[in-house]
Amino acid sequence: AQSVTQLDSHVSVSEGTPVLLRCNYSSSYSPSLFWYVQHPNKGLQLLLKYTSAATLVKGINGFEAEFKKSETSFHLTKPSAHMSDAAEYFCVVSDGHMRFGAGTRLTVKP
């Protein structure tokens, strides 16, 4: 079975500094991978997805993620954090079932 591990439950950055949210996956074959963001009292929103095309995936709001098969990682990055980025982020692996990580709460300090 496939699974994901989000290595940090909480990440805190200052506005304007880079963001790194870490995700490792376990899969028996080349997976589909996603990052979703969840703002309070709002639905999950897709940030980006990897489906075996380019390994560097660009998403919305300046986020991107790199698929590294050798490291079984799919870390999410953004060069410069904005206050509006504060939310819960979920890494997801799919084998037909979407399997979510436990989430990383991103706090952005002014």
């Binding site: 589909s32 999950l44 084998d95 079932h97």
Partner: protein, 119 residues
């Protein structure tokens, strides 16, 4: 266009009662999913519909949980004899279709969820 909608947004009920949670998917989406998100955790898969039929209900925790999608659009998640442990946010998602063979999925679009509290 309209996204996935869920009603009610909040539901408070007493232990032992029956509840129904409704999901309106994006028009034209044939695949519909239900998830449950407990506090501090990621969503967990419950059931998946392709059209009117439940293609995979392996995530339903027990026989108190049941879901229907009679006309291939709106779906209702039904919980009988609710327990305090059923308290969670129930999320619905829809996608245009689902790739054959189970590998990967079309992008799933999520509703805002129904927060169920069982007292």
């Amino acid at each position: 266009g309209a996204g996935v909608s869920q009603t009610p947004s909040n539901k408070v009920t007493e232990k032992g009662k029956y509840v129904e949670l409704r999901c309106d998917p994006i028009s034209g989406h044939t695949a519909l999913y239900w998830y449950r998100q407990s506090l501090g955790q990621g969503p967990e898969f419950l059931i998946y519909f392709q059209g009117t039929g439940a293609a995979d209900d392996s995530g339903l925790p027990n026989d108190r949980f049941f879901a229907v999608r009679p006309e291939g659009s709106v779906s209702t998640l039904k919980i009988q004899r609710t327990e305090r442990g059923d308290s969670a946010v129930y999320l619905c998602a829809s996608s245009l279709t689902r790739l054959a063979g189970g590998r990967g999925t079309d992008t799933q679009y999520f509703g805002p969820g129904t927060r169920l509290t069982v007292l």
